[in-house]
């Protein structure tokens, strides 16, 4: 160890991987519907795609959680994305490819991908 800067680098590198262990209120929340309907429709690859994208883009303050059936089984796989301080956005009929765009445009840049939302599908 030669300098405080070096220490700070180790800290930052590890912090993202440990701060999940604190009670968090801020940060973006991604909820993947994984009831039987969701899983049957392919929610698992969607979940994995989110993890992959988050990893790739170093997004430390995103929480990815699962939930049960959201209620509109015909539109599964469904995903809810909530940015801090903003309204929840519900995406439907998700695929791994769609996840890439949602992460890039919505999670990172704050632009809702309107064409994938439940509003567009109805």
């Amino acid at each position: 160890m030669k300098s405080l800067k070096e220490l700070e680098e180790i800290k930052q590198r590890t912090l993202d991987s440990v701060n999940l262990r604190q009670d968090r209120t801020g940060g973006t929340r991604v909820v993947v519907g994984m009831g039987t309907c969701g899983i049957a429709a392919g929610a698992r690859p969607v979940l994995l795609a989110f993890l992959e994208e988050i990893k790739k883009r170093n997004l430390g303050d995103v929480t990815v959680v699962q939930t049960g059936c959201i209620g509109v089984c015909r539109l599964e796989p469904m995903v809810e994305v909530t940015l801090p301080g903003e309204e929840k956005v519900t995406y439907v009929k998700m695929t791994a490819d769609k996840v890439k765009r949602v992460v890039a445009e919505h999670v990172v840049n704050g632009q809702v991908v309107s064409e994938f939302t439940i509003g567009a599908a109805e």
Binding site: S3, I10, D16, V18, L20, R24, N58, V64, Q66
Partner: protein, 598 residues
């Protein structure tokens, strides 16, 4: 970067380990592999969460689900339901960690944690103690960097002095002063030592810190080395703490590898290294001069002071010796400033204290509270009260060196000075709760038995005096007490306190003296009436059938293994005291509660 959507924290402290957390960890590993979840879910073995009573404890983030008493066979349910499908297994959650509507409480809302303030235990149960990066992620080694690069040794010592930190090993000596004495002592070589020879029955806070956050002790010792001018440190830890020894060994290797121990730390010309010394489990080796003799490879016996270790310590050189918990407090003080530390606690005792709760208490475990918290808050709010709503009788603090605190002092704010005032002491922080089924004479006998066993035998007051006291106590508990015994105990106790060579002997009579002070009538009942009010002392115990309640059903006659009970059906039975072996079998069988101990 690595990203896991969920972290599973499994307690790897000695408490949970002995209730099977090692197997639980292994099962988690294989279950996660079975469901291909290894890349999504991270398993972390942490230090103690504090709630040892409900171990093994497993916490799952981001939800913060607090699973308690997790058995091997529960693991596959947690993995398939919670981790795979996202459905929390509510029936395995710790009862107080869920709201009535089944929503999960944040840990800070759980009664056990609500009033706690975890400074020394800040990383226990949060980080993986075997990974230096995780310690660094929570500001680890930042204080060391700040001290080495931005502060002089004098400034460091002044800061610790200003914080008001007092030694957590028991006596409560101001830590900053000790640092100053060692820094000012003349010597070509100096040492920094850590007392991790935690020997009090019932105390395990030092072990938990070493197991859960070993780097905090290494960092603080290195800071102390810089402040007092030492380049070598020793941690004297008991060999009976294998997990602590293992994690310390790993931590030292990692710190050396990272250049946080060794030569030219942070690019300065300061060099420091730490080695372990294992103690063989003698209680007296927790005494500072005996500990240092043991480090040198000599017999662990104390010597008269002065000279104090700050002047003449290990290998005759000036030595700084602090306890594990004291060291664990150092990095946060340096990072947050002395004013912050000053703002916690009471006027003369700053900061927090870790207590090991044990005995007749629901939440057996480790708690850390600000100084000045009352015993009532610790026992009834954090500790969850006494099992079966029995009545509180006394709390024993400070182990074999401390005393018993009776119910009238439940509301005393606890700090070093208030405890001394009511005839006990802080000690290392063991807190044993007793209810009305504990006999105070027997408790005093138990602790004295321990000190007699552990006395090194060097000085006569301790070697002979405590033995004589024990003999008197044994006589009393066997119903052979005589008038004047109490006075004899007090006289002996006082002279041992004033004449013994070291802390062990000087404090050994405390459990006896304080129980006499507060529970004299119990001693008198043993001596005069040959009666043990709590029904503990076997020799004094009488089991009797209350004639007015006995219906003569005969169940007790059948239950008695030695045929000591006789009586006609439907008329009161009697126990032949000469045959009775006081096993209590009849007592449990009686449907009318007619049989009592007395």
């Amino acid at each position: 970067m690595e990203f896991y959507r969920s972290h599973v924290l499994i307690c790897g402290g000695t408490g949970c380990h002995s209730s099977g957390s090692g197997e639980v960890m292994e099962t988690f590993k294989s279950e996660l592999a079975k469901h291909n979840l290894e890349n999504e879910i991270k398993l972390v073995q942490t230090g103690c969460f504090g709630l040892c009573a409900v171990g093994p404890v497993v916490i799952v983030y981001p939800e913060g689900a607090f699973y308690s008493r997790v058995k091997d066979e529960d693991v596959s349910r947690i993995v398939t339901e919670h981790l795979l499908k996202g459905r929390i297994v509510t029936d395995l959650l710790y009862h107080d960690s869920v709201h009535e509507d089944e929503a999960i409480k944040s840990l800070n809302e759980v009664e056990f944690y609500k009033k706690q303030m975890r400074l020394a235990l800040r990383n226990c149960g949060v980080i993986d103690p075997e990974k230096i990066e995780e310690y660094i992620a929570f500001d680890g080694y930042k204080a060391l960097g700040k001290v080495l690069l931005e502060m002089t040794p004098e400034e460091t010592i002044n800061l610790i002095k200003a914080s008001g930190l007092r030694g957590r090993g028991g006596a409560g000596f101001p830590a900053g002063l000790k640092w100053e004495f060692t820094a000012k002592a003349q010597g070509d070589k100096k040492y920094v030592c850590c007392n991790a020879d935690e020997g009090d029955p019932g105390a395990f806070m030092d072990r938990s810190i070493l197991e859960g956050d070993p780097h905090s002790v290494l960092e603080a010792m290195t800071i102390a080395g810089y402040a007092v001018g030492a380049d070598q440190g020793y941690i004297y830890v008991r060999a009976e703490y294998p997990i602590a020894v293992k994690r310390l060994t790993i931590a030292i290797a990692q710190a050396r590898e990272a250049g946080l121990l060794g030569r030219n730390i942070f690019g300065t010309d300061f060099s420091f290294d730490i080695e372990l010394r294992l103690g063989a489990g003698a209680f007296v080796c927790g005494e500072e001069t005996a500990l240092m003799a043991s480090i040198e490879g000599m017999r662990g016996e104390p010597r008269p002071r002065p000279p104090f270790p700050a002047v003449k310590g290990v290998f005759g050189k000036p030595t700084l010796l602090n306890n594990v918990e004291t060291y664990a407090n150092i990095p946060p003080i340096l990072l947050n400033g002395p004013e912050w530390f000053q703002s916690i606690g009471t006027e003369k005792s700053k900061g927090t204290k870790v207590f090991a709760l044990g005995g007749k208490i629901n939440n057996t475990g480790l708690v850390e509270v600000p100084m000045g918290t009352t015993l009532r808050e610790i026992i009834y709010e954090i500790g969850g009260g006494i099992p079966d709503n029995k009545e509180f009788k006394a709390a024993q603090t400070g182990g074999p060196s401390g005393g018993c605190i009776p119910a009238q002092h439940l509301d005393t704010p606890i700090d070093y000075d208030s405890l001394t005032q009511i005839g006990s002491m802080m000690g290392s922080g063991g807190l044993i709760v007793m209810d009305n089924e504990n006999c105070m004479v027997d408790i005093a006998r138990f602790f004295l038995d321990f000190t007699v066993d552990e006395s090194c035998g060097k000085c006569p007051p301790c070697r002979i005096g405590t033995k004589r006291m024990l003999e008197i106590l044994e006589r009393i508990t066997q119903g052979k007490g005589e008038e004047g015994d109490i006075e004899k105990l007090q006289e002996l106790g006082r002279s041992i306190k004033s004449s013994a060579l070291c802390g062990l002997g000087q404090t050994a009579p405390n459990p006896v003296l304080s129980t006499i002070q507060y529970f004299r009538e119990e001693y008198e009942a043993h001596i005069r009436d040959k009666r043990c009010p709590a029904g503990v002392c076997q020799a004094l115990l009488q089991i009797i059938i209350q004639a007015e309640l006995c219906k003569g059903c005969g169940l007790c006659i059948k239950a008695c293994p030695v045929d000591a009970i006789s009586g006609e059906r439907r008329s009161p039975h009697v126990i032949d005291q000469s045959k009775c072996i006081k096993c209590g079998a009849c007592l449990e069988k009686c449907p009318f509660k007619a049989i009592v101990k007395g």
